[in-house]
Amino acid sequence: MSNLLEVYKLSKYFPVRSGLFNRKKKYVYAVDEISFSVGNHETLGLVGESGCGKSTASRTILNLLTPTSGEVWFQGKNMFEIHPRERRKLRQGIQIIFQDPFGSLNPRLTVERIVAEPLLTHGIGDRISRKQEVEKTISEVGLLPEHMKRFPHEFSGGQRQRIMLARALILKPRLIIADEPVSALDVSVQAKMLNLMLRLQKQFELSYIFVSHDLGVIRHVSYKVAVMYLGEIVELAPVKSLYATPLHPYTRSLLSSVPIPDPHKKNRKKVILQGDVPSPRNPPPGCRFHTRCPECMDICTQKKPPARQIEDGHIVSCHLHSAGEIWSPPAPDR
């Protein structure tokens, strides 16, 4: 059985024109040939620094941004090739939650209308059945029926994210792309929101693509984790394997930056990266990470490391690990 979602060599370049009369055309390589898959009832964590292309990737999967190249297969169908009418139908199965709980709700609509909008757009039900559906869904996310008549500014950040979640759930999707859903919230509210999302995952058999820069959060919710750097996936592994034996120097430095709430462990070795992320407009040759890599070798500046499978399902692109077999993403079934 094929996976719920297969992303195959997906790229998104943004053209940047420069020079006299806009003749020189350059590109920002926001997302460069990323491939991964999400199975039923699974959570894929997508992690990386800000600006590495996490959000662009999630928007491109949804076709909110037109991809430069690559394929996205959802429930065995190529999302970019099927008839727009069929795609519209299929897209009901993928929903998105955004980061900013203040910008993602229209301030002039009541909660009822915000949550009912997907039903309205897809022409499901009549006024009364839609209202019942909204009532049911917002109680699933822990809101009360009387909240339906209120406007977004009457809610806290956590409640707003619950409203977004209700809106995403109302079409009974299979996959929810959560683009930093908790990073704007307080830590205590984050935990509640995460547990709610995990409970809903069990209840509705959802899959998530969970985008975050917070490794602790990713570890808590994910089944598999993809680490992105400058538009590329540098390491893709099951969550246990990644946190136990991180292979890529970038992943190691990310993990060592996570604070450990235990004063006796404060002497652990930290990998602190020097410098800033290079511009994706002009990515460094060879391995994109070599400018900041603590273990940079000569080959890294010249040759791009291929993806290699080290253990079962643990894939890394790094010249340090030349032992594993070269891995290329399985082409989706046609």
Binding site: R91, K149, F151
Partner: protein, 307 residues
């Protein structure tokens, strides 16, 4: 009454879904009333509106009736004034108060409808321009530039000269030449609004662009435009007066404030009331509209009411 309609669940649903909206409107009204200057402007404008609507029933003097024996009668409080003509008469013996009241109809009608026309054109073009962007945007904005570059008075005068002076032509010309302000304002707001996540969220679920514009964009950009509109009404009234003064306004002998100014100008040394009174009428009308518009702007400012 039709009791069946009020009992049907659909009707109740409609009423219930309206309730939050009414609450919001009341909130805005309260904010306006809280501001003394806005309240004063609102009351003054209301008085002017009531006077211009109700004068034929209260003040039975024909604004066109000439009485050559009673030329240049001064207002009632000056020596020589009579109660027959409260604010005196002009060079043809026509009653100034009656002409002022009648003129207010022309000014207010032209002012409000011209702004309505301008808003309609400006909002539609501004929404299209801002939301779709690209070539359509460039096209609409270049047309706007042409309108901006063309001297406004020259445009209106030449159009009126060709079409002939009439109230309808006046409204159309003033309205159509004023759309640029609205289109530009709304385009700017749309540009920032369409990047908001709730717009993207609506696109993500596959909502049609036109519905996104009507449901998510328009309600969020309309309030500054309403304020701008009230302020522009004042401008249009001044322009209408100016055009009437030049003889390009409403066709004679219809009394308008601008024409009263133009005709009274000749007699300014002998009959001060002929120019001063229409001037004051214009001033107070514009003052009241501006005060109300300012108050409305403050009341609708989201930073002030935490919307």
């Amino acid at each position: 009454m039709n009791t069946r309609a009020t009992e049907s669940p659909g009707f109740r649903q409609a009423v219930e879904s309206l309730a939050p909206r009414i609450r919001l409107m009341l909130q805005t009204a309260r904010e306006v009333v809280k501001r003394p200057s806005a309240l004063a402007g609102g009351i003054l404008l209301l008085l002017i509106l009531m006077a211009s609507v109700s004068f034929p029933f209260l003040y039975h003097t024909d604004p066109l009736a000439q009485d050559l024996m009673a030329r240049f009668t001064p207002p009632v409080w000056q020596s020589g004034g009579t109660w027959r003509h409260l604010l005196g008469t002009d060079n043809l013996g026509r009653d100034v108060l009656s002409r002022l009241l009648y003129g207010s109809r022309v000014s207010l009608l032209v002012g409000f409808t011209a702004v309505f026309v301008a808003e309609l054109v400006g909002i539609v073009l501004g929404l299209i321009s801002g939301y779709y962007g690209g070539k359509i945007d460039s096209f609409i904005m270049r047309i706007a530039d042409i309108f901006m570059a063309y001297p406004f008075m020259l445009l209106t005068i030449s159009v009126i000269a060709v079409l002939g002076p009439s109230i309808l032509n006046l409204i159309l010309v003033l309205g159509i030449s004023d759309w640029v302000t609205y289109a530009r304002t709304i385009r700017g707001s749309v540009l920032s609004l369409k990047r908001k996540e709730f717009v993207e969220a609506s696109r993500a679920i596959g909502t049609h662009n036109i519905i996104i514009i009507m449901r998510h964009i328009l309600p969020n950009v309309i309030s500054p435009l309403l304020v701008l509109g009230t302020l522009r009404v004042a401008n249009i009234i001044i322009w209408e007066s100016g055009l009437s003064y030049l003889g390009m306004g409403a066709p004679p002998p219809m009394p308008t404030w601008g024409r009263m100014l133009a005709e009274g100008r000749v007699y300014i040394a002998d009959a001060w009331w002929l120019v001063t009174l229409p001037g004051l009428a214009i001033m107070f009308t514009i003052l009241s509209i501006n005060l109300l518009g300012d108050g409305l702007r403050d009341a609708l400012d989201p930073r002030l009411i935490n919307l």
